[in-house]
Amino acid sequence: MNTATLTKRPAWRMERYAPALLLAAALAIYIAIALSLGHTRFLTPEAAVSILNRSIALGITAVGQTFAILVGSIDLSVAHLISASAVVSSAIMNGDPAMMVPAVLAVLLMGAVVGTLNGLLITKLEVNPLIATLGMALIIQGCLASFHGRFGGSVPDAFQYFAYGEVLGLPVSLIVLALLVLAAWAVLRFTRFGSNIYSVGGNRDTARAAGIKTARVVMASHIICSLCASLAGLYLASRLKSGSPWIGTEGAYDLESIAVVVIGGTILSGGKGGIWGTVAGVIIFSLIDSIFNLAGVDAFAKQVMRGIIIVAAVAFYAVRSKRIVA
């Protein structure tokens, strides 16, 4: 048979394994440090759970951010939405267990509204997603601050089950995160909607020509992203007993969630990556934190190294690409 073209051999796709490699490296460093300092206590299953438990809020947020970035967008409003969700939920509950369900519903509704607004700005008004969500972040912050002072409240003990409860020795929050990850994976892998996210992120025109309603896909991804942020806000309210208006920004969940997603191998321009990379990214972040605590690195040196690690991890994938980035 006559083949007129040079057939390109399927490349070994390093990117596919890169998150795993990075995770393995982080894990190895952690174990090495724990062993060399003689802290074998930090190598038990309980320690593993406690490491995972460090980043529940970041994990939940990052799951949502993965959707936004995969579809070729980005969400800078998550941190403020987390604060708003925590404050609103604790204000509505105000210690009353009966108000738990209304509070959760109200917060999720708020998330859906914010996500819809983000999506509308990006798809209908064609505002650059960075600007749209940054603007939204400022608006949320303003609204939050203007209600501030009138909001106090705390969550009832029953609600703290979310953050502190345990089932079969596993924290409830970790189980929730695990289920969320599985759900996200299932959506991305097994549903048409998930497939559409990749298509729209890969090339919006191609997706449109194939009959995909791209605006809806972008919108839905943003709603998912915002819902996850709201859920993270609920988790933090439960963990911290009350919502403070700087909870999201002090955790830098906006930039950290983006960093985690990108370290997980999802490319910023969209269409490539996945939820498992994000999970690896989140665990890497937790491990870095634990390593620093173990080794007693002081807070400022920690920051310096964290910045370098983020860039180095992303460079690990990016340096091989031929794409010109800016």
């Binding site: 206590r41 210690g95 933090l236 963990r239 007993k241 403070s244 002090e250 955790g251 605590n293 920690k302």
Partner: protein, 354 residues
């Protein structure tokens, strides 16, 4: 429960405490305390050497930096302390909860000191820790009585009262007072403001504005300049002193006489005060309180009684009379003079002095 930052009973209690006499050795306010209730610590008695674990909310401002230096120096005074394990939550409640978890799980701590990032948020984590080992809380409190003791100065109302009463006494009735605050919603800062407002209202002073500076010098200076363009300011009340000098510079740069002002014990403010001689007071939230948890921890581990469940210590303010005692041009600008650190090892180098 609704947060209440304007509680008349607490206001009165702190106002009284400011003038009360504290127990303990004269001249060492970090071991002084009000009242006589003591916590029994026999159950925690333990052989040395000790490993002290400290979950710190962060060292993200000059006050905490000075305090943290105090604490490290204090440790050096106690040979029975083998190690101080310090975990920094970088200003995040979420992280601090995990940090406390890690410290407990590490199993090395003889005692746990916590400086909570926020009161409500850290309560569950502290409760969890109490079940395993003695816990000492300082600076901000937690909503539980389980710690052995909670070390803190008089409080936010006290600060607001000291500053407010000075302004009320110095400025004529009807004088224009500008209130400069850092951010809304922080409990200690809210109580400072509510106490001052109560006093201004009583004394018939005219509060022309309440502005938030976010602790930013540039913003502070801009705000004051804008107010000066629109009218006169007789006095400036601040809930924290870091930006006091910037506020004064706005007057200087506009060619106006310096107003009555309330600051805090940062060196830059004290230096300016000494140099210019304006009417001022510097209430403090003393950083010497960072020494006390170490002292208390060692006592607890030795089974000696400590003031508890609350250890309330004096909260002096610096006045024109006492100013000279605290001014020191060898110390860095944001050094907090009320540190009680002059006799500690490595002073002044460790505090950045010369």
């Amino acid at each position: 429960q609704q947060l209440n930052f304007d509680d008349p009973a607490e206001f009165a209690r702190q106002r009284e405490m400011l003038t009360a006499k504290a127990n303990g050795p004269e001249g060492e306010p970090w071991v002084q305390y009000y009242g006589d209730q003591m916590a029994d610590t026999a159950q925690y008695k333990k052989e040395g050497p000790y490993t002290i674990c400290f979950s710190n909310a962060g060292v993200n401002n000059a006050w905490r930096v000075t305090g943290w230096t105090n604490m490290q120096a204090e440790v050096k005074l106690h040979p029975e302390i083998k190690e101080l394990i310090h975990v920094d939550a970088e200003g995040s409640d979420d992280k601090q909860i995990s940090d406390i978890d890690d410290l407990i799980n590490g199993g090395k701590c003889s005692v746990l000191i916590v400086s909570p990032n926020t009161t409500a948020a850290l309560t569950p984590a502290v409760e969890k820790a109490c079940a395993k080992l003695p816990v000492i809380v300082f600076d901000r409190g937690v909503n539980t009585k389980c710690p052995v003791t909670f070390i803190h100065p008089v409080g936010g109302y006290g600060f607001g009262i000291q500053a407010g009463e000075f302004v009320a006494a110095t400025a004529p009735a009807g004088a224009h007072v500008l209130m400069l605050r850092i951010v809304p919603g922080v409990d200690v800062l809210e109580t400072r403001a509510s106490a001052a407002k109560r006093i201004f209202k009583e004394k018939g002073l005219n509060v022309i504005g309440e502005e938030f500076t976010e602790g930013d010098n540039a913003k502070t200076k801009s705000i004051v300049e804008d107010y000066l363009q629109r009218g006169s300011i007789d006095a400036i009340w601040m809930d924290a002193g870091a930006t006091a000098v910037a506020a004064l510079e706005a007057f200087e740069d506009s060619g106006l006489p310096l107003p009555i002002i309330t600051g805090e014990d940062q060196q830059d403010f004290l230096m300016k005060w000494k140099a210019e001689g304006f009417k001022a007071i510097a209430p403090t939230y003393p950083t010497y309180q960072w020494r006390t948890p170490i002292i208390a921890a060692v006592k607890v581990l030795k089974g000696e009684a400590v003031p508890g469940p609350e250890w309330v210590m004096p909260q002096p303010s610096i006045t024109a009379e006492t100013l000279d005692q605290y001014v020191n041009d060898k110390m860095p600008p944001l050094h907090h003079a009320m540190c009680g650190c002059e006799k500690l090892p490595d002073y002044p180098a460790a505090w950045g002095g010369q």
